[in-house]
């Protein structure tokens, strides 16, 4: 797309944005992939429309405040990236744009306080756990609370489990075949501590020593995707200091959103002195399912015990796995490797569930519509189990599936593998 984006004024992030706009041929192939276009049906709420709006704002032809409502509705799910033949790095564009535009936004004090609170609580597992516990008791009040407070309460599980701090080092069981670093994540430590526990057990069982490097923190994706670039830079650099890629075979994450965030570090630091360090780091990053499927393909994965009865698993593609990281086959291959498991494909599987990081807190209405649609699509396959690889999707799907009256268990892919190893499926 022709543009006059003043790259020299904006700096390295301007290059990232101009490159993405250049690559767009405005063919419209992204339209049917976009969740908000599916819901709203207008061009401003499609990826192509948003690219044009960002271009106009960057060129100075359109006030930021005019474009903002449409850009804020973008989930950042990157389904458009999968659909795009001309290779527009839309995720990089919207993330850079949010970082560039946030300091210029006019926000109400309440809005500011809400955003600050989200970015404070989300990355701090202990604070989050405490908040979740308080939330759990105020849950019955949800119907009478304003939407801003109701949305997060709706998503809380009925029972908030106790935190289970992970050990610094989990030794390999039997002969050590590899050594990986693991990002523990934030909210999931509070909401679903078994994700990490299951991950460590499955890795150890396969002879992989797991290290949680000291000094690691939040991946920074939530800050980055809400435009808090300075905060994101701080978190990115904190992790680059904590993880020395030379020490490990891989750097693993079991949350799609975090893994995608870690892989984005080179773009975040584009044009800055530590860009090369970020590249060396990012090439080592893998989702847990990518890493385990690598072992499976090499014939190195410990075999699973068969299920006690034939079991159908509806696998939900987390956007930040399927679209942002291109990981689709790995989790399915792993689940299929469990004797007795049949993997079911979910209709409209490419469509976001509406969780999308902090989206269900910032755009509760659209997030709710997408959640209802996702739960309906998943339940239409009549699964025995639902599996996905992201805490955000997990919470959203569990909440909506329950509201539709289903008791089907919702698990992380690695939890399913863990149960299979224990013979509990």
């Amino acid at each position: 797309m022709n543009n006059d984006i003043p790259v020299q004024h904006i700096g390295p992030q301007g290059e990232v944005m101009a490159h993405a706009v250049d690559a767009c041929v405005h063919c419209g192939f992204c339209l049917p992939a976009c969740p908000t276009y599916a819901l709203l049906g207008d061009e401003m709420d499609s990826p192509r429309g948003r690219i044009v709006l960002m271009k106009e704002v960057l060129e100075g032809a359109l006030p930021l405040a005019d474009a903002a409502p449409h850009l804020d509705r973008c989930l950042g799910c990157q389904a458009c990236v999968t659909a795009c033949p001309s290779g527009v790095p839309y995720g990089e564009l919207i993330t850079s744009f949010r970082g560039w535009s946030e300091p210029q936004r006019e926000r109400s004090p309440l809005d500011r306080a809400k955003r600050a609170a989200i970015l404070k609580i989300l990355p701090a597992p202990k604070v989050f756990s405490l908040a979740a516990r308080v939330g759990q008791y105020t849950k019955p009040l949800a119907p009478v609370l304003p939407t801003a407070l109701r949305a997060p309460l709706d998503l809380l599980p009925e029972h908030v489990p106790a935190m289970q701090p992970s050990p610094r080092v989990t030794p390999a069981r039997g002969q050590r075949r590899g050594r990986v670093a693991f990002l523990a994540g934030c909210a999931q430590q509070a909401l679903a501590p078994n994700f990490n526990a299951a991950t460590l057990r499955v890795l150890a069982r396969n002879g992989i020593e797991v290290v949680l490097p000291e000094g690691q923190g939040c991946c920074g994706a939530a800050a980055l995707h809400t435009g808090a670039r300075e905060e994101a830079l701080r978190l990115v650099r904190q992790n680059l200091a904590a993880f020395d890629p030379g020490d490990y075979d891989a750097i693993l994450s079991n949350a799609a959103g975090c893994g995608a965030g870690l892989k984005e570090y080179p773009v975040v630091l584009h044009g800055l002195p530590d860009e090369a360090q970020a590249r060396a780091f990012a090439v080592k990053v893998q989702d847990i399912s990518e890493f385990l499927a690598g072992l499976l393909r090499e014939g190195d994965l410990e075999p699973f015990l068969p299920t006690s009865r034939p079991l159908t698993v509806a696998y939900h593609d987390a956007c930040h796995l399927a679209h942002a990281q291109g990981v689709r086959a790995a989790p399915r291959e792993l689940l299929r490797a469990i004797p007795g498991v049949t993997v079911l494909e979910v209709p409209e599987g490419d469509l976001c569930c509406g969780s999308a990081g902090t989206y269900n807190l910032e755009q509760p209405e659209l997030a709710n519509q997408l959640g209802v649609r996702k739960a309906r699509n998943i339940l239409s396959t009549m699964p025995d189990l639902i599996a996905s690889g992201n805490i955000g999707c997990h919470t959203q799907i569990q909440s909506h599936v329950r509201r539709q009256g289903s008791r089907v268990p919702v698990l992380h892919t690695v939890e399913v593998l863990d149960l299979a190893y224990r013979g509990e499926l």
Binding site: D4, M44, A61, L64, A67
Partner: protein, 481 residues
């Protein structure tokens, strides 16, 4: 294009928010009064998004209406006429000729909310409002054992109204015909806001509307013919060391009696662009790739036809591979559909042609275009529905480094190759503004005068999509890509 202001720099104060929802001008205000705020877009941020299609940016409209019924269209047309502004119809804006990109500021009527669709299996018909997505017709008809064959590459995005406006084609058109061949009846709103229902009897006025790009009226609904899908389909990919050899294989296969369902060609640059996107293991080294489906209800005939095509490809020096599964065949066709946008990976801008030449001339035409491209210094790529002689030569360029003037001249020379071999300028994309300057060479003056008479009869004020299809009568127009 909107005038450029100084770009924002980091830290500069954000501009004051506009009053969202308040119409910017008299037309938008009147439309909002008549139709309500939900159906009218009047903010700049909204209007800017309704000025382009998939090839061109046009003038920013004064207002956009998102009608939900034919009655809404009538109201919008009357209001625009009263205000004396042009009216441009728009589907999903995936067109490749500039048809939906306004030449002048006016009213854009975007049909994306008119999505009512009914299937009548016993009559093998669908009734679709203009905003129904093309693929949705087949998806809804398939449970009844029926499909809607026209399959433009953008069929997941494009709308029936847009397809009929441009008389869109696709790979299946070689055997099954273009969009217009599936229209049994049309409803349209004329330039005065009157509603008409047309059938295909004499006079075939529906045929006149089809492919008229909204310059004669606005198609609001259509009755479409459905067919049962072929029971058997076999897919084949052939690769060639030279483009002309591919065209020779096509001519030979058809001369031998094969009537493939799809017969598609892409050259080396196209193959590499889609391979960069999809990573399917396509033959990157081949100068030309041919994708072929043979289909029908008799398996023996389908396989015989495939054998005929294979033999012709081998005789022309090609290498042949059969798709082993439905999944492989689906992936190959996704690759073909992705060619046009994937070319954005090579250069950001392109001039896209849509010529149709007699099949016997294909080898000479593709070689001549290839030679023109090689001599020009531009990336000239070719792909298209080679079975019916419909080729899409594309000139890829970077407007910041390469001259639009030179691109235009080269496009003109390519168009002249087609005309010299007895061809025409538009197979399926429409004329729009992209090919309008070449119309004088393609259509003789007497016929052009007759076309103008038709236009004046249906749209005396010239309000409907001005600046499209027909060149100015005065001959003073020199549209540029």
């Amino acid at each position: 294009m909107t005038p450029r202001k100084t770009a924002l720099s980091p830290g500069s104060p954000a501009p004051k928010p506009r009053s969202n929802g308040k119409p910017d001008n008299a037309l938008a205000a009147e439309l909002t009064r008549l139709l309500g705020p939900q159906k009218v877009l009047s903010n700049l941020s909204e209007r800017l998004n309704y000025r382009y299609d998939a090839i061109q940016f046009g003038a920013t409209p004064l207002a956009v209406v998102l009608p939900e019924s034919t009655a809404d269209v009538v109201t919008a047309v009357r209001a625009a006429r009263a205000a004396g502004v042009p009216i441009v119809g728009r589907g999903a804006a995936s067109g490749l000729s500039g048809g939906a990109a306004p030449a002048l500021p006016g009213l854009v009527i975007s049909f994306t909310r008119m999505t009512r669709l009914a299937i009548f299996p016993e009559r093998r018909e669908a009734r679709a409002q203009a905003g129904v997505v093309t693929l949705a017709v087949t998806e809804k008809a398939r449970p009844f054992g029926l499909i809607y064959p026209p399959d433009p590459a953008s069929f997941r995005t494009s709308t029936i109204g847009g397809n009929l406006g441009e008389n869109a084609g696709g790979p299946l058109c070689f055997k099954y015909g273009v969009s217009g061949d599936y229209v049994k009846a049309l409803e349209f709103v004329d330039a005065d806001g009157e509603v008409h229902e047309l059938t295909r009897d004499a006079y075939d006025l529906a045929g006149l509307l089809i492919g008229s790009e909204g310059t004669l009226g606005l198609i609001t609904e259509a009755t479409l013919r459905l067919t049962p899908p072929p029971q058997y389909t076999r897919t084949l990919m052939a690769s060639f060391p030279e483009v002309g050899a591919c065209a020779e294989a096509v001519s030979a296969a058809i001369a031998a009696g094969a009537v493939p369902g799809k017969l598609e060609f892409m050259d080396r640059a196209c193959t590499n662009a889609v391979e960069d996107y999809l990573h399917l293991g396509l033959p990157r080294e081949a100068e030309a790739v041919l994708l072929v489906d043979t289909d029908g209800d008799d398996l023996e005939t389908v396989e015989e036809e495939r054998a005929l095509v294979e033999a012709a490809c081998l005789a022309a020096g090609g290498t042949v591979r059969r798709a082993a599964s439905d999944a492989e065949s689906a992936a190959l066709w996704q690759a073909r559909r992705s060619v046009s946008p994937a070319l954005g990976r090579i250069r950001p801008q392109r001039m896209n042609e849509d010529i149709v030449v007699p099949r016997s001339a294909l080898p000479d035409v593709v070689r001549e275009i290839r030679a023109l491209g090689d001599a020009s210094g531009f990336h000239v790529v070719q792909f298209g529905h080679i079975g019916d002689g419909n080729l899409h030569p594309n000139i890829l360029f970077d407007p910041r480094r390469e001259s639009a003037e030179a691109v235009h001249d080269l496009a003109h020379r390519i168009a002249l190759v087609a005309i010299r071999y007895g061809g025409v300028l538009s197979g399926e994309h429409g004329i729009g503004t992209m090919k309008r300057p070449f119309m004088r060479e393609a259509v003789d003056p007497v016929t052009l005068a007759a076309l103008w008479d038709v236009k004046r009869a249906l749209d005396p004020a010239g309000a409907l999509n001005p600046g499209k299809v027909l060149p100015d009568e005065t001959g003073s127009d020199h549209a540029r890509p």
